[in-house]
Amino acid sequence: MATATATGPRRRLGRLERAALQGVLVREVVNYSSFWRSSTFSSTIDPTIYLLAFGFGFGSLVSTVAGYDYIDFVGTGIVATTVLFSGAFPAMYGTFVKYQFQHTYDAILAAPVDTEELVTGEGLWIAARTGTYGCFPMLVAVVFGLDPSWGCCSCRPSPRSPASAGRTSGSSSPPARSRSRASPTGRAGC
């Protein structure tokens, strides 16, 4: 009876189904719509304050670091820490709370969603959100004088961005720097 139907040929559902991923992502997007203001505020204001502090503060003392222009060094570094923190916190605390206290994952896994789809969906969402938040400090750094070339995004171990390639290595003085680039950090150095 029941066993006869259970052993009959049936459609195997795929490992990562679009409908399941979409369900997980829709949940995240709808949830995000209820707290995007506070989350976006902290994720953009935080790195901006860092940029200002390191830019005006340290920027008046340091012009280059290990052969990199200081703004390239600080700008890309802040982008990296923003991505790190805005990714690590939802991934660690957010998922733990949903797993342990809110039992959200119990609810999702009782629907036709498998664990690998849940993990993939949550990962995709955190990656998308984090990538977007990483753009804010980058834009601020561009305003501060970060050269918006692909070089500032790449991980190549080239010691110089194209804009600073013409200058002599490592020893450019603050006055020379503020002439070549009208950046707030440069002015602060005067």
Partner: protein, 295 residues
């Protein structure tokens, strides 16, 4: 006719503890089956095994003709689950909660809004649709939780302690809802430790103790079989109760303590006993079979 749920020889161990110990269970299509048992009898583990959130050590489970755990996703697509612990998204509104789960339960695009509206009527929450879940009362949250499980019009509904912690009015309201669903042909498996709930709602009851099923049958048949038609309830000081108990046992009757009194069962209306006569109920059966001691 095959069963909506069929369990055979199910065993689940957690370390040294055997939570479910060789359980057999059937839920025929279109019926409401109650899983009764004291705390720790293995009810919740059994419920979790039905959604493959607990993987068995031994035994087999078929749900709606799908063999678990391999085909559990297909089974989950056709059933609704109401968990014991409230797991609604508290920062979302009633409507948003339902909308999210209409996606998770794969309701087709054009049918999502009608499904949400239907769920709102089931939960009777049309006026509170824009309220955040945080602002709802316990009863409303529970109704929403049940309505959320019904978005995709499942053929089978799992209810894990659906009315725990609710006041009597809300409980009765939920009973009416569950009864309506059953009359519409939804198969229901409900775990509970409120005996009255099982007695009123269930066509069949399985009483569990220590991970096994100790009695199966319709509530009235179980009462007739294990408790007889009438109970005599004797009140008095503890010393007298102990005396009455010993006397009844000596005459081959069953007894159970009911806090301040002793209920004597299967005495067949013995006229020499001085006490209140009352109709037996499922609670008598439950205590007789699962034991009086709290372990």
């Amino acid at each position: 006719m095959s069963s909506a749920i069929r369990l055979r020889g199910v065993v689940k161990r957690f370390g040294g503890i055997t939570a479910v110990d060789g359980l057999d269970l059937d839920v025929p299509f279109g019926t409401c089956v109650g899983l009764l048992g004291p705390n720790g009898a293995g009810k919740s583990t059994t419920m979790k095994a039905l959604t493959a959130q607990v993987i068995l050590d031994e035994g087999e489970i078929d749900v709606l003709g799908y063999r678990l755990p391999g085909d559990s996703k297909q089974a989950r697509a056709e059933m609704g689950v109401v968990p014991q612990l409230d797991n609604l998204d508290v920062s979302l509104t009633v409507e948003q909660n339902l909308l999210v789960f209409s996606h998770l339960y794969r309701v087709p695009k054009g049918e999502r809004q009608p499904a949400v509206e239907r769920a709102l009527s089931i939960a009777n929450l049309h006026e509170r649709r824009t309220a955040k879940v945080d602002e709802l009362s316990g009863g409303m949250r529970r109704r929403l939780l049940i309505a959320r499980a019904l978005l995709h019009q499942p053929r089978l509904l799992l209810l894990d302690e659906p009315t725990v912690g609710l006041d009597p009015q809300v409980r009765q309201e939920l009973w009416a809802l569950i009864d309506r669903l059953r009359s519409e042909g939804v198969s229901i498996l409900m775990s509970t430790h409120y005996i009255e709930e099982a007695e009123r709602l269930c066509d069949q009851v399985t009483i569990m103790s220590h991970g096994r099923s100790v009695a199966v049958g319709p509530p009235r048949a179980l009462i007739a079989e294990h408790a007889g038609p009438e109970a005599i309830e004797v009140y008095g000081p503890p010393a007298k109760l102990t005396e009455v108990e010993a006397d009844a046992r000596a005459r081959g009757w069953s007894t159970r303590r009911t806090g301040t009194s002793v209920s004597i069962l299967r005495a067949n209306g013995a006229s020499d006993l001085d006490g209140e006569r009352r109709i037996t109920n499922l609670e008598d059966v439950f205590v007789l079979l699962t034991g009086e001691e709290i372990t």
